[in-house]
Symmetry: C2
Subunit: 363 residues, 2 copies
């Protein structure tokens, strides 16, 4: 088992990465302060891993362990579903010293984290991410929240877990599309801050796609470490942390226009990264050969590398105007300076963005 | 104008207290960082003070100033109304550098503060409390949130404003019951941490009830100062800050059983403080003469000093069991050690609590 600490002063917490971690109480017990636990999962993940986790919790000397299964999918990541968590907590009389455990992917983690941030103004929170995407993305950074009909992740909080438990076993049941979507974020870390890791991914994408547990553990740990370094320097996303949104402004536009749930988040980010890379090339910052390498690596991970069919440039531009990255009317984008180095840019003309979009299949 | 700073490190903020503050841009402008503002008020307060505030904002060089009127009352302090704030922000494309201004009482302040805490994971927030209760209570402490059908303030966040503007002018239109409800919290500060102030209140209750502006400004400033001292020592309510809940555990039970909106919060707290004082006396901590003085001062402020008619002891005890002050099954109460000194007590027997309730009119 590997152990990585996300350094955030008094809010620091460990990420445990390895195999067979779920059912071992010694991994969980030190991080549960009260005597009550509520496990929040969804109808897909619970049948696979809930009993295993409950077996682990049985060794933790708790007064009560409740669990709640939410419907599965981004479409349910909203205030109504969030309220179901509050209903359950209040009906079962959970107090301020309760611990919420999120068992599932990013949607379960984001909602449970926001519920923990908001329930009685903040209770403890443990994350057990069961998808590759959530292991390498939402494990680090403390972003929690829900969607609003007018925008993704528009309602939420920065809230740190007390522990993240990333069990490689849970990746074995992941559908291929979801697995690939996770690999998109893994590739992102190589692009924005870790060229050596990008090289490793080019050399090892075969092992990764075959879900070799050792390759997976390495990729998850390296991704979390890369992200943790960026986040530690900028917990509340006022500056450098924005580079983590590489590909996301375009990706959110795809998700918003296609409707949440049509494209997976990681798929949208994959196409978005190609767009951002293409725009970087048009500005003369990176060579065309690097854009080709990026397309090739994403394609090897079975990810989309161009815009959804029939999505127009105007649909992109319009959707991007309400994105969180807009500061006082000026569109900020994350672009590449070179492989392994991203930067925030706010002087892109509408025309140049349009051209990059056209070159990536927008119409 | 008096200026008081709530010391919370990098989250410190000033409270400005005085007359004619609303329409002066120089009070507001230094605290607005972006170019967008959303004023959230309610249908009762907006007709009285919104134009005045907008006049002040007109001098602040903003790109856009929007406003939203919510329905008035505790009954609307819920997730649905909160969502109306998010709707308005997103429809009008407010970004992460927007500032939310709460113009109204505690309900507007709590909801707007939680909206600011949650919108895009946190935007700036200014409070313009227009009731005595909100000026002396929610101005300090950063508590924001909404109610849940199963409990008051069960969903929320600790979130500090950048500025609080307490304009004594706005107290002139306050209905008598609401004014008295505010005086209840003022009296609370005297009881829990400021015996000198309690003496001042006994001597000056006549001026205060006549809404003498100088007496009001003194009482608001002293209350905020008292509360700020307690909060500064314990921002997230892990210890000493709990004394601010003096009277509140009983008060919340009254509100929950009567239905929110029947008794005003301050009225419930007034009766709750008598119950807590009575319990302190039964434990032998304070003399009966002090309980009498407390009853007299509250009565002089036209506040209730006993339980609602026909409310039973069991209704109290049942409602108190889901209160936030319950840690791992043990009921913690805030009681008086002497005038001006409160303490957290967790060894009260059910019988003693019942007796105190019976002596305060519960049946």
């Amino acid at each position: 088992m590997n152990r990585l600490t996300v350094e955030l002063g008094e809010r620091s917490y460990p990420i445990l990465i390895g195999q067979h971690l779920l059912a071992d109480a010694s991994n969980l017990a030190p991080y549960i302060r009260g005597r009550q636990v509520m496990v929040v999962s969804n109808e897909t993940v619970a049948p696979l891993y809930l009993q295993k986790l409950l077996a682990g919790l049985a060794g933790c000397e708790l007064e009560r362990v409740d669990h709640l299964e939410l419907p599965d999918g981004e479409a349910f990541k909203n205030l109504d579903t969030l309220n179901r968590i509050f209903d359950a907590l209040l009906e079962r009389r959970h107090n301020r010293s309760t611990t919420l455990i999120a068992l599932g992917g990013g949607v379960v983690g984001d909602m449970t984290g926001f519920a923990a941030a908001s329930y009685q103004r903040g209770v403890d929170f443990i994350q057990v991410p069961t998808t590759l995407l959530s292991q390498v993305d939402s494990s680090v950074g403390g972003k929690t929240g829900v969607n609003h009909p007018l925008g993704k992740n528009m309602i939420g909080a920065f809230y740190q877990p007390r522990l993240v438990l990333a069990d490689m076993d849970s990746l074995s049941t992941l559908p291929p599309r979801e697995f690939s979507a996770g690999v998109a974020e893994v590739i992102k870390y190589g692009l924005i801050c870790d060229s050596e890791f990008f090289g490793w991914l080019e050399a090892n994408m075969g092992r990764l796609m075959a879900r070799d547990p050792e390759a997976l553990a390495f990729a998850v740990e390296r991704s979390c470490r890369d992200k943790a370094e960026v986040v530690a320097a900028d917990e509340r996303e006022s500056g450098r942390r924005a580079i983590l949104n590489f590909g996301h402004t375009f990706g959110h536009a795809i998700e918003a226009v296609q409707g949440y749930g049509q494209w997976l988040h990681g798929e949208a980010v994959a196409a978005g990264m190609v767009m951002a890379a293409e725009l970087s090339r048009l500005r003369g910052d990176i060579p065309v050969a690097l854009v080709d390498r990026i397309r090739q690596l994403l394609a090897a991970a079975e990810l989309p590398v161009s815009a959804p069919e029939a999505m127009t440039v105007d649909e992109f531009l319009d959707a991007m105007a309400v994105d969180k990255k807009v500061i006082d009317g000026r569109l900020r984008l994350i672009l590449l300076r070179e492989l392994g180095e991203a930067a925030i840019v706010s002087d892109c003309s509408r025309d140049l963005i349009s051209e990059a979009l056209l070159r990536c299949g927008a119409v």
